[in-house]
Amino acid sequence: MSMIDTSDLGRPIKGPSALGSDPRRFWHLTQTMAVMDFKLRFFGSALGYVWQLMRPLLLFGVLYMLFAVVLKLDDAPYYPEALLLGLVLFTFFADSTRGAVGSLVARESLVRKIEFPRLAVPLSVVLTALFNLGLNLLPVFVFLLVDGGTPRWTWLELPFLILLLAALGTGLAMLLSSLFVRYRDIDPIWEIVMQLLFYASPIFYVIQTVQDHSESLAKAFMYSPFAAIIQQARHAMLGPGHPSAANVMGSDVLLLVPAGICVAVLVLGYVVFDRRAPLIAEEL
């Protein structure tokens, strides 16, 4: 049997991979899994989607009481909206990365039972988080308009910023999910990283407060792509009362650093995931 003539058989199958051979199937799977996850959250509990909306809103309520009412730190224009925007973006980032960590392991039965592009799993997590972000952004706009804000042209910047943030989230999701299969302490480590990120980014405070304290510290903050994106989003949405990321850094060129980090993480995440993909089914 070993002398099979393989010359006219075409190419051998390549086994499990990150993207698979059919891009349409890859997209169909990612989309279906994301939609189903979203539905599960939507219909899974009695109040369903209300909880999805309440999560950032409740945190917003507590933080607002503390910083605006008790500590009177709300001298920045549209402080409540800035706070809520920060929280919503953070929720998206946390959902996509934290959710991705255990995603491959949670879908073990799938990974071990059928062939499908492995990347669909972490990507569907990011996509679900993106659906959520879309809905969570609505109250931010409502708050802003009720608070006397007006639509601006710079709002058009927001989709690009979200895309950049999604790229960063996707890169990390690929990296974390594939490494978690082998190294299970990725989970607590990432939990801590996310906590640090929460305090080290302008979410419940505004960058102006940091600038007042130390100009260079504020600059240092902006090297973090997550912080830079939030700051730029505030500038785009709430107007010049919030300085742009470039403004804080003092130079447009320096913006390439956080943007470059986003791209680098995306590429690194893909490379690592692609290399691990054939082995995931065996290592689970």
Partner: protein, 426 residues
């Protein structure tokens, strides 16, 4: 069996020679595939361990799941992959499905391939049937639009029309299996890989599965079935392959493969059985002679652990006399797995006076018979006795001293395989 095979020929009956003569491109070719798993002795699961012992390499034991496996399946063929637990058949299926990457060799697949290792892959208990069908069908390769379009057909086939909006966790397990199976058969693939999904469900459902397999086969699609259900192999497969410890040990005609499989299975069992029996052997007798060994012989007179139904075979035992004995009786009792006596033979009625045997003499007695026994395991109790008033007194009787496996591929509830012919007149 010959009768069964001829009647079966409804599907595209492809014999070995027909396949190799076909100019068509094979649907599936596996060319010298090997797959080794590294089973870590001590898995490094945390970064901390890795950081503390950066140079310690976790030892690992290689497990060769597949060794140089090759096969070729023609389009429209129903091919069986059989083997015992741990023989590598599921690994082969997963390599074919593209779930595992192969270490060596290559796999060529011509056409769309779908894998059914488990029914209802991706089912979520918290989602209603409609969403689960969508999820499962997409997983199996349909586009979401196509899956939605076929939903009615799927739900009707499963006979679950009244429960489309019920969450899956409220389904009975039977309903869930029905739903999963209906999705599975809606997936149009040219090549289907099926892994013992038949093992689930009640008799009625299994019959439905079998009917569906017959339909799939008749529709000209290629099927690779992994199973250890020999009757399924013989019912459906045009050809089959037997794996043992990752190697192909038999390949071709399903009946031959089935016979080899039964042999493999029973010889292992028989071995463990005899070793266990040896600890607690039941033995009677006054010791004036001892049965040293006992065995079975095939039609050619060679010692064997397997007898084939229909052949002329023999039981034999070697006896050493420790004392002079006049006119002893030599015999054997054969019982089947259900402890029913199947043969009781001795020289009592045929040759009751073989004469005097002297101390130190060693003889072999042989009882030959036409093997009409049904497939299964048999235990032989050989005995030497002397004729006493009103019966026999044991000189040596060794309970279940020898074991033999009778192989026949014909499934039967009968205790014996009486030769028969059938004539149908109209």
């Amino acid at each position: 069996m010959r009768l069964g095979r001829t009647l079966k020929g409804t599907g595209p009956q492809t014999s070995l020679t027909a396949v190799s003569a076909t100019p068509q491109r094979p649907a599936v070719v596996v060319d010298g595939v090997s797959k080794t798993f590294r089973l870590p002795n001590e898995q490094v699961h945390t970064l901390k361990e890795k950081a503390l012992h950066p140079f310690r390499r976790a030892g690992s034991a290689p497990l060769e799941a597949l060794r140089d496996v090759s096969l070729s399946v023609a389009p429209g063929e129903f091919f069986g992959i059989v083997g015992r637990n741990g023989s590598g058949k599921s690994t082969l299926l997963k390599c074919l499905a593209g779930i595992y990457a192969v270490d060596n060799g290559a796999i060529y697949v011509d056409g769309r391939l779908s894998t059914f290792i488990e029914l209802g892959v991706g089912f979520n208990p918290d989602l209603p049937a409609r969403d689960n069908v969508q999820l499962n069908a997409t997983m199996l390769g349909l586009s979401p639009r196509e899956a939605a379009r076929r939903f009615d057909e799927i739900i009707d086939f499963a006979e679950l029309r009244d429960f489309t909006d019920l969450k899956l966790k409220n389904y009975s397990s039977g309903m869930e299996v029905r739903l999963a199976f209906s999705v599975m058969i809606q997936v149009d693939a040219d090549i289907l890989l099926i892994d013992e999904v038949l093992a689930v469900g009640d008799a009625a459902f299994q019959q439905k599965c079998f009917d569906e397999f017959a339909r799939i086969r008749d529709s000209g699609r290629t099927v690779l079935l992994v199973t250890h259900d020999m009757s399924a192999v013989q019912r459906f497969c045009d050809r089959a392959m037997l794996l043992e410890r990752g190697r192909v040990v038999e390949h071709g005609d399903p009946e031959r493969v089935g016979t080899r499989y039964l042999e493999l299975n029973f010889s292992e069992k028989a071995r463990s059985e005899t070793s266990r029996d040896a600890d607690a052997e039941i033995r009677f007798g006054d010791g004036r002679a001892t049965i040293e060994e006992a065995w079975f012989e095939d039609h050619a007179g060679a010692r064997t652990e397997h007898l084939v139904t229909g052949e002329h075979v023999a039981f034999a035992a070697r006896v050493r006399f420790a004392d002079d004995v006049d006119d002893p009786l030599f015999g054997v009792n054969l019982v089947n797995d259900r402890h029913l006596p199947m043969l009781s033979a001795s020289n009592l009625w045929i040759d009751p006076h073989p004469g005097r045997f002297h101390a130190g003499e060693e003889i072999v007695y042989r009882i030959s018979f036409v093997n009409l026994l049904a497939a299964g395991r048999y235990h032989a109790t050989p005995a030497v006795a002397r004729q006493a008033s009103g019966g026999a007194a044991w000189i040596d009787r060794r309970e279940r001293f020898a074991t033999v496996v009778v192989t026949g591929t014909r499934g039967s509830d009968a205790l014996v395989e009486l030769p028969y012919e059938i004539a149908i007149e109209r």
